[in-house]
């Protein structure tokens, strides 16, 4: 179990770093979605299915969607 947790922790950290370093908001929305997925897996590994479900719905789906909408909107206004 610990090995799975360790691997997902490292993956999550990498994914989070990529989110921050990604330049454009649209690319960030996609990487944030990936980051949300790795976190979901990590939370499942940490025996927290309730939290994993929230994380999946929110940071893997809803928040990236809103970010995409806002980024598109701002691009359209330019």
């Amino acid at each position: 179990m610990n090995a799975i947790i360790a691997i997902t922790v490292v993956l999550t950290t990498i994914a989070g770093t990529v989110v921050v370093l990604a330049g454009h908001p649209k690319r960030q929305a996609l990487t944030l979605s990936m980051f949300g997925l790795t976190l979901t897996v990590l939370f499942v590994a940490l025996q927290a299915p309730d939290v994993a479900l929230s994380e999946l719905g929110i940071n893997a789906l809803v928040v990236p969607l809103i970010i995409l909408l806002v980024a598109e909107k701002i691009r359209a206004r330019r």
Binding site: M1, N2, I5, A6, V9, V10, T12, T13, G16, T17, V19, V20, L21, G23, P25, Q28, A29, L32, F35, L39, L42, F43, L46, Q47, A48, P49, D50, V51, L53, S54, E55, G57, I58, N59, V62, V63, I66, I67, V70, A71, K73, I74, R77
Partner: protein
Amino acid sequence: MRILLFCCAGWLLLIGCYGMVTSRNIIHTVISLVVCQSSTYLILLGIGYRSGATAPVYSDTTPSKVVDPVVQALCLTDIVVSATIIALFLALALQTHKRHGTIDPDELTALRG
């Protein structure tokens, strides 16, 4: 394992802050804030973990070893609620773009001095 998990959480917190400090785009700032926030869940759930235990849900009434349910309760509401706060910030970013014509923090100059 302890050091790995928590130091990774600390790294996420600081890299999120780095993102906010160097950001050239308010949306990017807000997303970096989301990364910072994720580190808090990592820390809380790491603290509540118990080796060899299952999730705190009982399929029948015989109690077995389960992980700490309290930290999970704290996290799961916070995740959902924070998403709406993030939405609030993004709404602010949208209006900022409408009024200022830019969302680059370096070019937002309404509050100097």
